[in-house]
């Protein structure tokens, strides 16, 4: 059933176009969006592993040099892609479900943006072609800007414009790096470029190759929101609607790992590559968490926490052994779910009180006990408390850095976990446990059922992965063994 592989991109893309074209028919749009959203997690689970060549152009074997060339855009679908695409599909389903039940009159353009973003990240994960990835990276940036600008929060347009202006510096730099690689190897297929690098066809110590690393690395920093882009990344999380922010962070995490895996396949022979990744990851952890500690707006605080947690993923990949990369990718999977849970849960609080300042909140435990319990478990999972899934991946990361001979990084990772927990507990205290201020009005006593449902599903997956991590780890470990 390899025909299903391109469908993973085509279905959300076509759905996006159809929804925006026929958004006048409200009920039809709602039903259609829901059906497509249900299909999204099912397609990757039903599909077989394999490769798909667009246009049917099979690889060509050059008899003289015994090298294989890929003339077509290739999609490769393995266990890693399956689990991540299923996860982002599930998240898209939950977000679309929350959106559809929240508003009676749905807006076609907003659903268009959600599906467009999902299609873009799916293509970025699947593709084996570096320029194809760049094109979908730009589409993803446009979709993210649209999701931010569509929210009704103050100053969201300004934040969207800032993100876009920074993006129009970051992505041409990445294109320039791709241009350098193209000039050196004459191809944009990652497998071919990696083969050329590893067979010694191009000089890996030449300044051009190093420059291409620097430029693509800068594009990766922009895509993943590591410093110096951590302020804008947390800003756009805080300016989107909460369910939109839950999807935005999953887009960030997936674009981060898809670009870094491509970079890893090309540049893993250079020692400086791993040094750079570790340096920026440590910087992201320190700056992200220390900024999160001083925030009073809790959406902004979760945004900074999400950026800080990204450092763990980078750390795992930067250490460069099979175990550590597995840990980093598993952490990425966990972070998608946990941060989405936190964004949706705090979104429920915004929905109930219309207030985002922690200093003016308090005593909500009496009003929303279910939400507070789920949020507490989510926060514990983010900080890495057993038996939740965040614990498993962080434990693996600490073990990996110890076995690589970097005990400092282990201590730093544990400290960042503790600081994350402090941030969470501080916010949890001031929102739920502190006595209720007199001027706080709790308007909607009921939290929407869809939000509870979404949080429940995410929570079940978090606990399941925490107890049985081997379901995912073995497959990811095999994948990592393949690219090393």
């Amino acid at each position: 059933m390899n025909e299903l592989i391109p469908l993973m991109v085509i279905v959300p893309l076509m759905a996006a176009l159809l929804i925006s074209a026929f958004s006048r028919f409200n009920t039809v749009t709602k039903i259609f969006a829901l059906v497509v959203a249900i299909c999204l997690p099912i397609i990757p689970l039903a599909s077989n592993y394999g490769l798909h060549y667009f246009g049917g152009y099979e690889p060509i074997l050059d008899n003289v040099t015994n090298a294989v060339y890929h003339p077509a855009i290739t999609y490769s679908f393995t266990f890693l892609q399956q689990v991540f695409i299923a996860m982002v599909g599930l998240l898209t389903f939950l977000v679309v479900f929350i959106y559809l039940t929240k508003y009676r009159k749905v807006s076609g353009p907003y659903l268009f943006l959600l599906f467009l973003g999902t299609a873009a990240v799916t293509a970025m994960l699947l593709t084996d072609d570096i320029f194809h990835m760049f094109v979908f990276f730009e589409i993803l940036a446009l979709a993210q800007v649209g999701i931010v600008a569509a929210s009704s929060i103050n100053y969201s347009y300004e934040m969207a414009l800032k993100y876009m202006i920074l993006g129009s510096i970051g992505s041409p730099m990445m294109l320039l790096g791709i241009g350098f690689l193209l000039a050196m190897t004459g191809t944009v297929n990652v497998t071919d470029i990696a083969a050329a690098v590893h067979n010694g066809l191009i000089n890996v110590t030449s300044p051009v190759f190093l420059m291409s690393l620097a430029l693509i690395f800068f594009g990766w920093l922009y895509a993943s929101g590591l410093p110096p882009f951590h302020t804008i990344k947390s800003g756009i999380y805080s300016k989107a609607e909460p369910h939109g922010a839950a999807l935005l962070q999953s887009f960030t995490v997936i674009s981060m790992i898809s670009i870094v895996l491509i970079m890893f396949r090309i540049y893993s022979t250079l020692p400086i590559f791993e040094v750079l990744i570790v340096f920026f990851s440590i910087l992201a952890m320190i700056l992200g968490v220390s900024m999160a500690l001083t925030q009073t707006d809790f959406r902004r605080m979760i945004g900074f926490l999400a950026v800080g947690e990204l450092g763990f993923i980078g750390l795992g990949i930067g250490l460069g052994t099979q175990f550590s990369i597995t840990a980093g990718l598993f952490q990425a999977l966990n972070e998608i779910m946990i941060t989405a849970l936190l964004f949706i849960g705090f979104g429920a609080i915004v929905n109930a009180t219309n207030e985002v300042d922690t200093r003016k909140l308090g005593g909500l435990l009496a009003y929303h006990p279910k939400v507070s319990l789920m949020l507490l478990i989510g926060g514990l999972a983010m900080a890495g408390v057993p038996p939740l899934s965040g614990f498993q991946s962080k434990l693996m990361l600490v073990q990996a850095s110890l076995s690589c001979g970097f005990p400092e990084i282990s201590i730093l990772a544990i400290m960042v976990s503790i600081a994350t927990f402090v941030v969470f507990v501080k916010t949890y205290y001031s929102m739920f446990l502190k006595p209720k201020p007199n001027d706080l009005e709790v308007e909607n006593k009921e939290v929407p059922r869809a939000m509870i449902f979404a949080m429940g599903i995410l929570l079940i997956i978090i606990i399941l992965l925490g107890i049985f991590p081997d379901i995912v780890i073995n497959g990811i470990s095999n994948f990592v063994g393949g690219i090393l």
């Binding site: 934040m159 800032k162 241009g179 191809t187």
Partner: protein
């Protein structure tokens, strides 16, 4: 004429540097956006210059051409295909940015970046 390629590369470097300069030092938001779009143009020019072949021909295979001669003389067409996509992406990004500027201008009545896109995190929290 390897000189042609050198001139083109220098031009693209100049355009990228103009873009960086305008990103930091130009205050008017529309000019800043135009300046940043010069970065994109410079990169496009660079990628086209990769495919250029001095003394070559346009990479279109006519029926009366010898294939071997064509392969050794035509320019490399893959970068040209990439630039086509990139130009369209750049134009659409520019259009979205200008649209956002128009919306924000209604609120502030000025085009200065220092006023329009200043730090907003302190005002918004307590006054909602």
């Amino acid at each position: 004429m390897a000189q042609t390629q050198l001139i083109i590369l220098m031009t693209s470097a100049a355009l990228i540097i103009i873009g960086f300069y305008s990103a930091i030092f130009v205050d008017n938001i529309i000019k800043k956006i135009i300046g940043i779009s010069f970065i994109e143009e410079g990169v496009n020019l660079f990628i086209v210059a990769i495919g250029y072949k001095a003394g070559g021909i346009v990479p279109i295979l006519m029926p009366d051409m010898n294939t071997t001669w064509f392969a050794s003389n035509a320019a490399y067409p893959l970068p040209f295909g990439l630039v086509l996509t990139s130009i369209v992406i750049g134009a659409s990004t520019l259009a979205v940015m200008l649209a956002l500027v128009m919306v924000i201008y209604k609120k502030y009545g000025t085009l200065s970046t220092k006023v329009m896109l200043a730090d907003t995190s302190k005002q918004e929290e307590y006054n909602e």
